[in-house]
Assembly symmetry: C2
Homo-oligomer: 199 residues x 2
């Protein structure tokens, strides 16, 4: 039993977050009661702001409060290179690497006959629209290396290659730092298949 | 780089929470963008409410919006039994067990010569005040089983025993489900010392 109903409500809401259990939620709630009040309210405001002000970029389909978004309008990024991903989280993953200086295109999912996701439900029409401008030289297919992601990449490559744009797929192979002995068959086969000359 | 400044701010605020790293913060932020808007705003409101409405119970010192709090006024709880803990989180830990039906007293910390915490900074005067009513039969010292917690328990037992109240300390021994082979020396010695007749 909680000594405060508001504390109880906060724990309840925190428990709804992914990978936050009862104990973590209690620890977080008590933390929010302990820190300076402004710090806690800043988090509350940040949550509210993100829901009240953030929409989507009409170009890349990523979350953004501006349309087009900061990534699509950044003049230092190469407009000729478009990395196609499934979800906004994938953009963040690539941005963490700092290794990509092109633009993105968020599909909003992957083709899935099982879940009933068809090409019309993904932002493929918008991708074709972007290619129409002629600025895009290369489309990098960076959908997930699983059944749905591979199917989506194959579908897109068949759709885009005839348009005269270079279509590439991110390399799939053994992850860095891993142990070959414990690699799964599919990954190892793919790593062999995708072998390249040593430079 | 983030496509939205508000998303970036939210990730930044989430990263300040304990045991939430950059990746978890991003996952939580994207989750809050994906769920129905009301769900996200409910969390924001719960954080705001907890900071704007929750204060302290003058009796037990726990977080509460009412004074005295729900635990201190619950007639089904035994007023003669007071469990003394260091922090509000400890109350939650005991409440999770459902094994305690008495009341609590939150000290707000433990004695620590190193950190400069002296008896006057803990809610000891308030504890003495509670004992004065004569209702309390037993005080259970449930401070942490570490140097500061043990010192605090010893200090309190010397202070309270002369007042004619029963003073007990929670058992310290080998935790349930653990392996004796890997128990540390202090715990194992304490478990021997605290042995009891098999009932």
């Amino acid at each position: 039993m909680y000594s405060s109903r508001f504390l109880e409500l906060l724990v309840e809401e925190l428990t709804k977050l992914p990978s936050i259990g009862q104990k973590s939620a209690q620890r977080l709630a008590l933390h929010l009661l302990r820190v300076p009040k402004e710090d806690a309210l800043r988090l509350a405001d940040a949550i509210r702001d993100v829901r009240e002000r953030v929409g989507f970029c009409g170009t890349c389909g990523n979350f953004s409060e501006a349309d087009p978004c900061a990534l699509c309008t950044d003049p230092r990024r190469e407009g000729g290179l478009v990395c196609v991903v499934e979800q906004p989280g994938d953009v963040l993953a690539f941005e963490r690497t700092g290794a990509f200086r092109g633009r993105y295109h968020v599909l909003g999912g992957a083709l899935s006959p099982l879940e009933g996701t068809s090409p019309e439900q993904l932002r493929i029409r918008e991708l074709l629209e972007r290619l129409r401008s002629g600025e895009v030289r290369e489309v990098i297919l960076a959908t997930n290396p699983n059944v749905n992601g591979e199917a989506t990449a194959l579908y897109l490559s068949r759709l885009l290659t005839p348009l005269g744009v270079r279509v590439t797929r991110i390399a799939r192979g053994v992850p860095m730092g891993s142990d070959l002995e414990y690699s799964d068959l599919v990954t190892l086969s793919r790593a062999l298949e995708g072998r390249r000359e040593v430079e």
